[in-house]
C-alpha cells in the first residue's frame, strides 16, 4: 500500500515494542513524535513562507525582493535566522519581567496549538475530538491574552495603546468568525473536523459561499496584517504591542503572525475547501497531505495578494464594518441556512438541487445586504458631507 505515513508509524511502533517498551509507552512516544513533527513542519513552512512572501511582495510592488543570498535569494530566511538568533535582548527599564517574557512564547504556542486537531489525510488525523471547532476558537483566546500581557508589561505607552486596540479588534472580529463557523457545523451536523471534511460534497464554499466570505474577512482581521494592520500602524502606534521587543522575542511574534496566516489558510481549507479531499486521496493518504498543504498554501498566497493590494482602513471604518455589516449579515445567514437545511431535509431532494438552492439563497442575502449597506452609507455620507460645487472654497456661500 501507498500508505506511507502509517507504514512509518507501524515500523516505529514495532521497533519500540521489539525493544521491550510497553504498549502505553509506545503510544506515548508515538504521540510525542507526531506532535514534534507537526510543530517542526510548521516552523519549516514559516521559514519558506517568509521568503515566498517577500519575493511576492517585491514582485507585486515592481521590485526584485530578496535576491542576494543564494539563487533568487532563497537563503534569505536562513541569513535572517542567524541574525535574529545572535541579536541582543534589550529589556526596557520598568518592564514586568515575568509577563514580558511569557508573552512571546504564549503568542506562538496559541497559534501552534490549533494544529493539534487538524485532519491531514483520511487516516492521518491529529486529535479527532468531538469539539474540534470549539477547540480551535478557544485556543485563540491565549493569543489575545499574550497581546494584553505584552502591552501591559512593556512599560510603554505605545505598546499599551496598541495592545488595547488590537484586543478590541480581535474580540470584535471573533464574533462573526465564530458565527460563520457555525454554518459548516450546521451543514455537517458535527464539530469533528474529520466529519466536516468528509461531509463536503461538494465543497462548502459552493453550499455556503457567504459564510466562507465572512469567515475569510474576519480571520484576515484576526491575523492583524494589512488591510487590518491597525495594531501596528507604523505612523500612529510605532509597532503596536511588540514595540519594546527585540531579538528572538520579537521574532516569535513575527513568526506567530506568519504561521497564523498559514493557519487561517488551513482553516479555510478544512471548513470550506474540502480539507484533504481530492482525486485519489482516499486510496493514497499521502496525496491527501499534499492536497491539504497545497490548498492551504494557495489560500495563503491569495490572502497575501489581497493584503498587498489594499490600503489600510481606519479604525472606525473597521469597527463599523464588523458591527454594522459582518455581524448582522452572519446572523441572518446562519438563520437562513438553518431553516433551509432543516426544511430541505424533510424532502428527499437530489443533492444538486439542495446545493443550488443554498447557493442562490446565499447570493441573494449577500446582494440584499450590500444593497442595504450602500443605501445606509449614502445616507450617512450625504448627512456628513453635503455636496458642494468644486470650484468654491469652503466657507464661501455658493448661492
Amino acid at each position: 500500500m501507498a500508505d506511507l505515513i502509517n507504514l512509518i508509524e507501524n515500523w516505529i511502533k514495532n521497533l519500540l515494542l521489539g525493544w521491550g517498551a510497553s504498549a502505553g509507552l509506545t503510544g506515548f512516544i508515538l504521540q510525542a513524535l507526531g506532535s514534534v513533527l507537526v510543530v517542526m513542519v510548521c516552523f519549516a513552512i514559516v521559514i519558506v513562507l517568509i521568503w515566498v512572501e517577500r519575493k511576492l511582495a517585491g514582485r507585486l510592488q515592481d521590485r526584485f525582493g530578496p535576491n542576494r543570498a543564494g539563487p533568487y535569494g532563497i537563503f534569505q530566511s536562513f541569513a535572517d535566522m542567524i541574525k535574529i538568533f545572535t541579536k541582543e535582548y534589550v529589556t526596557p527599564a520598568g518592564a514586568e519581567k515575568g509577563l514580558y517574557n511569557i508573552a512571546p512564547v504564549l503568542a506562538m504556542a496559541s497559534v501552534l496549538a490549533i494544529w493539534a486537531v487538524f485532519p491531514f489525510a483520511v487516516n492521518v488525523i491529529g486529535a479527532d475530538i468531538h469539539v474540534g471547532v470549539l477547540y480551535i476558537v478557544a485556543v485563540g483566546a491565549f493569543g489575545i491574552l499574550a497581546i494584553l500581557m505584552a502591552g501591559w508589561s512593556s512599560n510603554n505607552k505605545y505598546a499599551l495603546l496598541g495592545a488595547s486596540r488590537s484586543v478590541a479588534m480581535l474580540i470584535s472580529y471573533e464574533i462573526p468568525m465564530v458565527i460563520a463557523l457555525l454554518v459548516p457545523v450546521l451543514l455537517s451536523h458535527s464539530m469533528k473536523l474529520s466529519v466536516i471534511v468528509e461531509a463536503q460534497e461538494p465543497w462548502f464554499i459552493f453550499v455556503a459561499p457567504l459564510a466562507a466570505l465572512i469567515f475569510s474577512i474576519s480571520s484576515m482581521a484576526e491575523i492583524g496584517k494589512a488591510p487590518f494592520d491597525l495594531l501596528e500602524a507604523e505612523s500612529e502606534l510605532v509597532a503596536g504591542y511588540h514595540t519594546e521587543y527585540s531579538g528572538m522575542k520579537f521574532g516569535m511574534f513575527y513568526v506567530a503572525e506568519f504561521l497564523h496566516q498559514f493557519t487561517v489558510g488551513a482553516l479555510i481549507t478544512i471548513f470550506f475547501l474540502g480539507g484533504w479531499t481530492g482525486p485519489m486521496a482516499v486510496r493514497w493518504p499521502i496525496l491527501g497531505v499534499i492536497y491539504f498543504y497545497g490548498k492551504s498554501l494557495f489560500i495563503y498566497l491569495v490572502i497575501s495578494w489581497i493584503r498587498l493590494s489594499l490600503p489600510r482602513i481606519r479604525i472606525d471604518e473597521m469597527l463599523d464594518l464588523n458591527w454594522r455589516f459582518l455581524i448582522p449579515v452572519s446572523f441572518v445567514n446562519l438563520v437562513a441556512v438553518a431553516i433551509a437545511d432543516r426544511v430541505m431535509m424533510e424532502f428527499t431532494l437530489a443533492r444538486w438541487i439542495y446545493v443550488l438552492v443554498m447557493f442562490g439563497m446565499n447570493m441573494f442575502i449577500l446582494w440584499a445586504a450590500l444593497a442595504i449597506a450602500e443605501k445606509n452609507d449614502q445616507a450617512v455620507e450625504r448627512e456628513e458631507f453635503p455636496p458642494r460645487p468644486v470650484a468654491v472654497p469652503p466657507g464661501v456661500d455658493s448661492k
Binding site: F43, T91, R342
Partner: protein, 118 residues
C-alpha cells in the same frame, strides 16, 4: 477518547517548549551589553513623561462586554447546530427565537451608539 486529549496535552507541551527553546537560545549565543541608555523606554526619541499605565477609553470595555455576551450565545448555538438534524423541525424555530432575542440586543446597542467609535 481520553487518548486524543493526551495527544493534545503532549502537543501543548511541545508547542510551549519549542518556542521557549527558540527564545532561550539567544541568551547563550547572543552578546549581552546592557546599558541604561539602551533600556530606556522608546517614545520616538524623547524622554517618556508621566505614568505609562495611561487610562484608556471605556469604549474598549463595551466591546469586550458585548463580545462576552455573544460568546455565551455561541456555546448554546453549537450544540443546537450539531443536534439539529435529529431534532423535530420546531427546534429550528426555538433556535431562531434565541438568536432573535440577542439580535435585538445588538440592534439596541447599535441604536444607542454604543458600538460607534468616537
Amino acid at each position: 477518547m481520553l487518548n486524543y486529549w493526551l495527544y493534545i496535552g503532549i502537543f501543548l507541551v511541545v508547542a510551549v517548549v519549542v518556542p521557549l527553546v527558540a527564545v532561550l537560545l539567544p541568551v547563550l549565543i547572543a552578546p549581552k551589553k546592557p546599558s541604561a541608555r539602551k533600556e530606556e523606554v522608546y517614545e520616538c526619541g524623547i524622554e517618556s513623561k508621566g505614568n505609562v499605565r495611561i487610562q484608556f477609553k471605556s469604549q474598549y470595555y463595551i466591546y469586550a462586554l458585548i463580545f462576552l455576551i455573544f460568546d455565551i450565545e455561541v456555546i448554546f448555538l453549537f450544540p443546537w447546530a450539531v443536534a439539529l438534524g435529529e431534532l423535530p423541525i420546531f427546534a429550528v424555530v426555538e433556535g431562531v427565537i434565541f438568536i432573535a432575542i440577542l439580535f435585538a440586543g445588538l440592534i439596541y446597542a447599535m441604536r444607542k451608539g454604543a458600538l460607534a467609535w468616537s
